[in-house]
């Protein structure tokens, strides 16, 4: 395992290797679901799990990264520094999302936990070794998940929208599709684990515009409820 992983280990606390992946609750939904039994046995052997405390980084912009990470629980913020030294939020990762898709000497993003979170990680070196036996294993591993590249696509689509309402409602829909929870009575709760300032920054809006827009969306019924860390929309 490279230096980067050791660094991450120091930052994030001890990692453990689960005795079996059977208990993984994201497995069925995306991770590993497209792997054959033989591939899976390989992957299971090289995989390790790590807890990342709130506000700690998984990857740091400009530093090397040697592992592929899968969010098993919790959420992360992707951000990068602009040339003027200010931070730009570039996306959010939720359960089942991937990051670190390619090994690199300088990560393009910083990935920080928005809450206490858990990831599984696979050193790219081992994935490449497995690939000799099972070609394309990495592609199949991430076939159902969203990667940092999908997040960039989402972002440019959102930023291209020309009204604040469109941007905000599209953002809520996007998150709702990933981690929204239906309550069985045509209502879907969409958790918003990130601070409002992050949402505003991500959507290219001023905080006041975001607050006003959320209020308007509630008034005209497009949002049923707004609270600090969630909104409720029609399912």
């Amino acid at each position: 395992m490279g230096e980067r992983s050791e660094l991450a280990e120091r930052q994030c606390g001890a990692y453990d290797r689960p005795k079996t992946c059977d208990l993984c609750d994201v497995r069925e939904r995306s991770i590993c679901a497209d792997l054959g039994p033989r591939e899976f046995a390989h992957v299971e052997k090289t995989m390790a799990r790590r807890h990342v405390a709130k506000n700690k980084s998984l990857m740091v912009e400009g530093e090397p990264n040697e592992s592929l990470y899968i969010v098993v629980d919790g959420s992360f913020r992707l951000s990068k520094l602009l040339e003027d030294g200010r931070r730009q939020v570039t996306g959010f990762l939720f359960k089942g999302d991937f990051v670190g898709v390619r090994p690199t000497k300088a990560s393009a993003y910083t990935t920080e936990a928005l809450q206490d979170s858990t990831v599984c990680f696979f050193p790219h070196r081992y994935l490449e070794e497995i690939a000799i036996d099972a070609p394309g294993v990495k592609d199949r591993l991430i076939a159902r998940g969203q990667t940092e590249y999908h997040k960039a696509q989402d972002h440019i689509v959102l930023l291209g929208k020309k009204t604040a309402e469109e941007r905000v409602i599209s953002f809520i829909d996007l998150i709702g599709k990933t981690i929204g929870v239906d309550d069985g009575s045509a209502r879907r709760t969409v958790p918003l684990p990130m601070p409002r300032q992050d949402i505003a920054d991500y959507l290219g809006l001023r905080l006041e515009t975001l607050s006003r827009t959320l209020a308007t969306l509630k008034e005209n019924g497009k949002i049923i409820e707004v609270s600090r860390h969630a909104v409720v929309i029609a399912a």
């Binding site: 990068k80 602009l82 040339e83 003027d84 200010r86 730009q88 570039t90 960039a152 972002h155 440019i156 689509v157 959102l158 930023l159 291209g160 929208k161 020309k162 009204t163 604040a164 300032q197 505003a200 920054d201 959507l203 290219g204 809006l205 001023r206 905080l207 515009t209």
Partner: protein, 451 residues
């Protein structure tokens, strides 16, 4: 100023807010070129937005800007609608790319507009291009038009840099330039800015105005220091009555003689530096803790169409009549006349009418010229390598002469301006500029004095 340098007082040079200067722009560049370059902007590329408001309540006779005296506010409202349309046309071309990091309102007189309209323009920027709370918002203000509560409302909109066109505090000078504004008025404006929490207040001063004397200008600088702005720009007045008919209203006979211009600039420099301001480039001053001074200190000082700046964005998008954009190596300037500007924007087309595609050679020359202007020293090896042998010889001959006169030191590839020769920065820039030969053969009426 050393006697052997006095000859440069009559020289005329471009202002070098860009290289090549806007005088080299032509009609080869059109809206489609601008649109194409906008389409190539990176997703997270920092953008600096310049908004030009060409209206004034009254004409100042020294003014060289694109402005008109407007008495019908309805016309200004039409302009604000056009700005919003232009911003959306730019947004369509960007398709979500680019991050707005800085917005600068200049003029004319931005506060000719009511705060509602200024807020509406910010709203249009937010929807068309994106605008977050961390963007730096700057606005030029005419102190005579600041109404009750305006400053606080601008601060509430997020403006954290405000600049006042002071020019000169002397009553006689003010009468001679048709811009009467009392010290009390400026003092009140600064007080409101401070109360509103604005910690980046800037004054623009002008030397070389009619009726100015060494004594009167020294008093203007004293009054400036007493009000303690965070930045001061001390520009030389450019008298170009042939190109700018309104300047013919000035009493040319009352203009200070050439040699006095250098003395006025040197005196202002002494006083401001003595009061603790740092020199920034050749005509700006800033308190040591101001972002501009920090940028200078850390070698991050830049030069754009507003002068010396700490704005790190390479890409500048100018909106409004006559505004200049720079994106992906292309300079694109909007139509200057309001009628032409409206015609293009209202037919859903970007308002570009002229510009220039920066050649790799010009990019290299421009870098070296900016280097000498921003840091007073530059490595000229790359510039010489970019030039033809004939051009390089001419540049070296000009530098030789300047070195002989002590304006610069020239050691190997390093050219450094003498500390007392900052005022001649543009002469040195012109020496490095291969296009300058062309300008001297055609004594143009549009170039201002170098000093």
């Amino acid at each position: 100023m050393r006697p052997e340098w006095r000859k440069y007082l009559s020289w005329r040079t471009p202002r070098y807010t860009s290289f090549p200067s806007a005088l080299h722009f032509d009609e080869q560049v059109a809206a489609a070129d601008y649109s194409q370059r906008l389409g190539e902007v990176g997703l997270y590329e920092p953008l600096s937005i310049y908004v030009h408001i060409p209206f004034c309540r009254q004409m100042c006779w020294y003014c060289g800007c694109n402005m008109r005296v407007e008495n019908d506010y309805g016309r200004a409202l039409r302009y604000v609608r056009a700005l919003s349309q232009e911003l959306h046309l730019i947004g369509d071309a960007l398709r979500g790319a680019g991050r707005t990091r800085a917005v600068h309102f200049g003029g004319g007189t931005p506060n000719y507009l009511k705060i509602e309209e200024i807020g509406a323009i910010l709203g249009a920027i937010e929807l068309a291009l994106g605008l977050t709370d961390s963007a730096r918002l700057a606005i030029e203000l005419d102190p005579r038009l600041i109404g009750d509560g305006d400053v606080a409302r601008l601060a509430a909109l997020g403006f954290n840099r405000m600049s006042l066109g002071v020019q000169d505090f002397d009553v006689e000078v003010q009468a001679a330039i048709n811009r009467i504004q009392s010290f009390d008025l400026i003092e009140a404006a600064v007080g409101e800015m401070r109360r509103a929490g604005v910690n980046d207040v800037s004054f623009d001063l002008l030397y070389g105005l009619p009726k100015q004397t060494i004594t009167s200008f020294a008093e203007t600088i004293d009054k400036t220091i007493a009000l303690s702005p965070d930045r001061v720009a001390v520009f030389g007045y450019a008298h170009l009555p042939a190109a700018l008919p309104r300047q013919r209203l000035l009493d040319a006979a009352a203009l200070p003689p050439e040699e006095m211009r250098a003395d006025l600039a040197a005196m202002a420099d002494d006083q401001l530096v003595g009061a603790g301001y740092r020199r920034i480039g050749f005509d700006h001053y800033a308190k040591p803790d101001n972002p501009l001074a920090r940028a200078e200190n850390e070698g991050r000082l830049r030069r754009n169409f507003q002068g010396f700046t700490d704005d790190p964005a390479d890409t500048t998008l100018g909106v409004g009549a006559s505004s200049i954009s720079f994106v992906g190596g292309l300079y694109a300037q909007n139509a200057r006349a309001l009628g032409d500007y409206y015609r293009q924007i209202e037919s859903q087309e970007l308002a570009t009418v002229r510009g220039l595609v920066l050649s790799p050679k010009e990019a290299r020359i421009g870098r070296t010229i900016r280097e000498i202007l921003c840091r007073s020293t530059a490595d000229i090896a790359d510039l010489l390598a970019a030039l033809s042998p004939m051009e390089a010889n001419a540049v070296c001959a000009r530098l030789d002469e300047l070195a002989g006169e002590g304006v610069i030191s020239w050691d190997g590839a390093i050219v450094a301006l003498a500390t007392d020769a900052r005022v001649l920065s543009r002469i040195v820039a012109a020496a490095l500029d291969p296009y300058e030969a062309f300008n001297k053969d055609n004594p143009t009426r549009r170039l201002a004095r170098a000093v």
